[in-house]
Each structure stands twice: as C-alpha cells, then as structure tokens.
Amino acid sequence: MRLDHPIFKGPLSVDVVLDADHPYMGQGTWLVYSPESGKGSDWGMVSDGHELEDSPDCERISGGINSKGPCAVAIGRQASLLQWGFYGAPDHMTESAKRAFLNAIVYMKQFDGQVPLVKKTSAGRTWLDQYIETLEGMKPEERVPKEKNDLASYLVAKFPAELTKDGVDPARLRKWYQDNEEFLTTAGLDRTMIVDQDLAALKLSNRKSEFLDWLLRAFVEDPQDAMARKLAGRYLGDHGIPDAKAATAYITENRPFLFFTDTGGYHWMVDVNAQRTARVKDATAKKDGK
C-alpha cells in the first residue's frame, strides 16, 4: 500500500489507520468498508500486479486481502481508468476510504485524454518468483505432482522439465530464475515463460536500455548482422522489422519514450501519451517564441 500516493495526501487529509492486529504482508490492514450488520461482505476484484508498472501508463496504489497473491492490485490505474476494487459503496465506506475516494476523483482529472498503452497478452516474469515462493512454502511431499490439475503440477509446469525431472528443488529453481531473469520471454499466449537462448548467450537483458544500445552498435558495425536482425525482429514489437535502417530509426527517433513491457508481449513500445505531451509542449514553446 502506497501511503505516499496523492490519493492519500490531498486535497483532503486522509487519516489511514493501519490495524496492526490484522497484518497482511508485513503491514497493518486498512479498513475500507464495513458491510451491513449481520450480512456477509461482498467480494471485490484484484488485478494482476506482476509487472503492472512495466508500462508508464500504470501504477499500483494498494493491494488488498485476497487469494491471488501479494502482488495483486486492488486499487490501481491504467491511463484514464482507475480500478477501485472494493465493493463497498459510500454508505458503507469508512471515513478514511471516503476521503481517499474523493481525492481519487480529483487525482484522475489530470489523465483525461490518456489512452491505455498496453493490452495484456502475457504474464510478467516475476510470476516465476511467486511460483517458487509457493513451492518453498509447501512440504517436500506436497511438491510432487500427483494429478494432472493439482497445484504441484501447475507450478512445476512453469519451469523447464529438465529442472524438475529428478524432483522439485525450490533452491534449484530459484538459482535458475536468478541466472536467467533478464533473458526471459513469453512462450505464447499462456503464462509460460522461456529463456531466450540468444540473449543468454550474449548475456544481454531484453528489458534494459543496454539492449537498445547493443542493437545500435551492432547495426553500425554490420547492417546485415544476423543476430541483431533477429533480436530486432523479436523485441521491437510491430516495428521490429529486421532491417538495420528501420530499426535504428525507430530506436533513435523514439528513444526518450521507449519502454519494455512483459505483460504486453515482451517487447519495446512507445509511450504515445508522453510523446504527444512533448509535441504539444514543443509546439507551444515555438509558438511563444521560446
């Protein structure tokens, strides 16, 4: 929970009292609403928080008590849409929740006109960390897959088969994850991730700016560089034409606005919202003669 977020800061003051007697993920819990006396609480919704913020249009504001894991997002934003995942209406909200909600209305005004940048097509790589944590919390006998759809089978299937053929050792999985985290990519539309062996051989992260620098250097040295063309095609999204000139132009022209997204398909994209803002600012400055 980000108590330093603007919705907890103003314009109205918000006195969030964290109940230390009911901790969740090492932090006290914030009571958002109470149901009618004698009636059960209605469930809300959480969204996937793994790499939610891998695109600049998103922010995680608060989690919530849920069954999907500590990364799940109860209050979060993508572009002009804010999810308030709790069900309680104002007549059941606590005073602090009402005030944060009012602040959220004010806060959201600034995002008028912003388009969402990323459609969700794949799972963020930090899911693997959560899978390993889950296995670490299971007894050794529970980690052995027994049925096709049991929890152990589900978790083990997320890792390369050679890592688990002699038994499930979370420490081994964790080392593999740490060694390969920067080289992971999606295996398709499900939540499975694989190691990009080309990146691993180059020891080159696909999500850091060094990747873009590497491509530019490689194309300067040899516009026909086969590996550079392959990686450009794989990671520059729709603009990943495996052509030195097109790839170089795409990177250099959009560099301040490029970001890498796991959840959007493991490729680089342009922050068109920021790009548009910069263009308006430039045009305004020119008009004003600055």
């Binding site: 109470s34 919530g64 979060g76 999810q83 007549d91």
Partner: protein, 139 residues
C-alpha cells in the same frame, strides 16, 4: 472459475465497527475542497437501488454537478459534459437488496470504445467490462 475469482478481495471487513454517518465538513476541508467543487462527476451504475442512492447522496455533498445514468448507457456522448465518471454495478450475492444470482455473473452489457478517454473510477469488477483486454482485469 469466474465465480471463484469474484472472491478475490475483501475490504478487511468486520475488523472495526461501522463508521459514523457523514459528518459536516470541517473548515479545513472546505478550504481544501473549494477549488474542486466544480468538478463535474457522472455516476454510471445499476439503475435504482441502494448503491445509486448512496453514491448520489455522497457525491452531491462534495460536488456541485453530479449526474446519474445507467452504466449500460455510458459512452463518449453521455460522458461529454463531465470530468470524471464513477462506473459501478451491483453485487450478485443478494446482501444489499439486489437480486441474488446463482452460477452466473451479473455483468453490465457494456464495452466502451477505444476513443473513450474520459477519466473513470471503476468500482469492484467493472474495469473488466470497460477494458477487458487491458491490465485492470480479472487476475
């Protein structure tokens, strides 16, 4: 599956007694809020019922212009005269006066167009209806 997903979150309910009814705004609140009263807010929700009433009463205390429409009527046109939209729908558990549904979700028939970029606060699972292909969706 979807039914189980609805059980994804709760507001740490029943930990404390219900808060007192809305109190009058303090002078500090009035000063802090003065420049925001003019924010135009549209509540788009399940027509009729306790939630629409609760939201309308609450929002009207804080904003000078509050509109109310059926969420299924939300569009670029209906939101044109507002700054922020509250998108809401009813529960299906029958705890608060709305019909209880078994086995199926109570989902609004709604999908806003890509061009709809008016700021929206989506309650509960409504974001999954508004922009189901994006990130704020069922986990």
């Amino acid at each position: 599956m979807r039914h189980s997903l609805l059980k994804a979150i709760c507001g740490a309910a029943l930990l404390l007694p219900a808060p007192p009814a809305q109190q009058q705004h303090s002078n500090d609140d009035d000063a802090a809020w003065r420049s925001h009263r003019g924010t135009r807010v549209l509540y788009a929700g399940f027509p009729g019922g306790s939630r629409e009433k609760a939201f309308q009463q609450f929002l009207s205390q804080w904003f000078d212009k509050v509109g109310v429409i059926n969420l299924e009527k939300l569009s670029t046109t209906t939101a044109a005269d507002y700054d922020v939209v509250i998108a809401d729908w009813c529960s299906q558990y029958g705890n608060d006066g709305y019909p209880k549904r078994e086995g199926t979700l109570s989902m609004p028939k709604l999908h806003i167009e890509h061009e709809f970029t008016r700021p929206v606060i989506a309650m509960d699972y409504v974001s999954s209806n508004l922009r189901s292909e994006y990130k704020l969706d069922w986990l």
